[in-house]
């Protein structure tokens, strides 16, 4: 606001030092604001330099090799990347439809008071720390899966290789289901905003020609807010990719690629959490951090896409975020 400053400086008796203080204050805040981008660049640099040894030793084969053997010093990222993708896929397949219908419930179906309470409770799911999901998953949910869900799936869908093998409780499927409940609140929150922000005139014209609530939602609301819904989905995807402790507890931590969802596996984040403490050899540590680099690149792109979409949605509706 340059005019205001000029007027202030024109007042007689006004110490010019105050103007200097203003500039100083502004620069101070700019330096503080630059801390975040500097950290971001620092993270990338640190990951790259710490994983350089592994990348130099194994070359591009690191990303497609299934090997993971600390004794023979042979490491590859394939099983961890596979596990990350599969567990995230299961989580998204469950969480996306659920989040969309929960948002529908909150915005269109429930009376305002119920909607408020239910919405708050769903948001609290996001507040529970990751490690608590892990404790509950390992000691409560995994035995439940082993006793009820997995034998049932094995009996009726056992002809698919996906559902074969002993029902151990821990494994890819259990991890995916827990992940789904962890990312659900993030996607629901965005979808709820999107649904609530669609102009009432559009919905009313749908109802006016006799459309049902569901028809208005999937023919008017979702197409209108599709960029926002996609942004929310990508936001949840980013969360699921990097979720660590809950997955570490229940996935079984085995560096093997298996067709069955009942089999134990591992993800990038779980391998890091599980093996870092026992890794003393430089090449082992470097390989683990190279996994971290892969995870960083994955989530970075997912987050950037998500932010661009959400920004486009809010800008399109002239809401500043």
């Amino acid at each position: 606001m340059p005019q205001a400053r000029d007027i202030a400086s024109a007042i007689p008796g006004k110490a010019p030092a105050k103007i200097g203080a203003d500039a100083l204050f502004k620069w101070f805040t700019i330096i503080a604001a630059l801390v975040v981008p500097i950290i971001m660049a620092g993270i990338f640099w640190e990951l790259l330099s710490l994983s350089w040894l592994a990348l130099k030793t194994f070359g591009w084969k690191f990303f497609i090799s299934e090997a993971w053997n600390p004794v023979t010093q042979n490491f590859g990222a394939a099983s961890s990347i596979f596990g990350t993708v599969v567990s995230t896929l299961i989580a998204m397949l469950l969480a996306v439809p659920m989040s969309i219908v929960i948002a529908l419930f909150l915005v269109e179906l429930a009376p305002p008071r119920i909607s408020k309470v239910v919405g708050s409770l769903i948001e609290l799911l996001a507040a529970i720390p990751s490690i608590i999901y892990g404790m509950w998953g390992l000691f409560v949910f995994a035995p439940f899966m082993a006793t009820y869900v997995q034998p049932f799936l094995g009996q009726y869908l056992g002809f698919l290789p996906l559902f074969q093998g002993p029902p151990m409780g821990i494994g890819m499927l259990t991890a995916g289901i827990i992940l789904a409940f962890m990312v659900l609140p993030f996607i629901t929150a965005i979808c709820r905003d999107v649904f609530a922000l669609v102009p009432a005139v559009l919905k009313e014209s749908g109802y006016g020609v006799g459309a049902t609530t569901w028809e208005v939602t999937y023919k008017i609301t979702i197409p209108y807010g599709v960029v926002g819904v996609l942004g929310g989905i990508f936001l949840g995807l980013g969360r699921a990719l990097g979720e660590t402790m809950a997955v570490t507890f229940v996935i079984g931590n085995s560096h093997r690629i298996s067709a069955s969802l009942f089999a134990p596996g591992n993800t990038i984040a779980s391998a890091l959490a599980n093996e870092f403490a026992e890794a003393t050899d430089p090449l082992f540590i470097s390989s683990l951090i190279a996994l971290g680099l892969v995870l960083f690149i994955f989530t970075f792109f997912v987050q950037v896409v998500s932010q661009l979409m959400l920004r486009r949605m809010y800008r399109g509706w002239s809401i500043k975020v």
């Binding site: 205001a4 710490l50 929960i102 529970i128 404790m135």
Partner: protein
Amino acid sequence: MIPRPATGRRIVNLLVSVAASLAALSGIFILLWITLMLAYKGLPALNLGFFLNMPTPPMVPGGGLANAILGTLLLTVLATFMAVPIGLLSGICLGEFGQQSRLADFCRFTANVLTGMPSIIVGIFVYGLLVLTIGNFSGLAGAVALAIIMLPVVARTTEDMLRLVPDPLREAALAMGAPRWRVTLSIVFRAARTGIMTGILLGVARVSGETAPLLFTALNSPYMISSLFHPMPNLTVTIYNYAMSPYADWQQLAWGASLLITAAVLALNLLARFVFGEKKP
């Protein structure tokens, strides 16, 4: 013109409505399942010794987590003191000076991306930055990692809350001859106080339950806190170690610690939500 029969469409609509209600119920069900299970398994562990005693080897009765409780408190407080000043200042830059600037736009975008970064990545970063440089795992590194996770949350909430303050308030203060920094610190901040407190509380809640970054930085320790430059005992890593152990008494302590940390995090969230108003960050 013959009207399309509505029965099929009504049935679809009914099915979707039922599915929507069930999905919402299942979310609440999971929340209740987790919290009730924590209470059921954790409450028996929470006696006076849990808060006052030091950890004991497995199968030795009378063990507590006094050191880990203190360690988690210390880590969270340190992280808050590091993240809040920088977060507030960068929030001011984004909200007060950077409405149209491209630099601010870039900072805002990076802050959003950093918020969504997996916390374990931040752990590796601080491991390379501090643990390798100093030479051993330390409480200081743990606090820095938590501060990095908290920083973008505080910065973005502060910005959002500053923007809600109406411009006439700023103009009135400027017209009285107050310099810009005073307008921001004593007028705008006061108006946005509750919202900013909410953001800080949510940031504290988010980091106090973090585990993954501490595995690479603060690690854990069965002893009393001696200095910031040594491994620091903390509740979350203790939960991880004890839960993975085969000893029933350690697992029992892990449940107690889980209950304690969840109660604290949920209390902070509810406090932010209800005491400091309904403004969402």
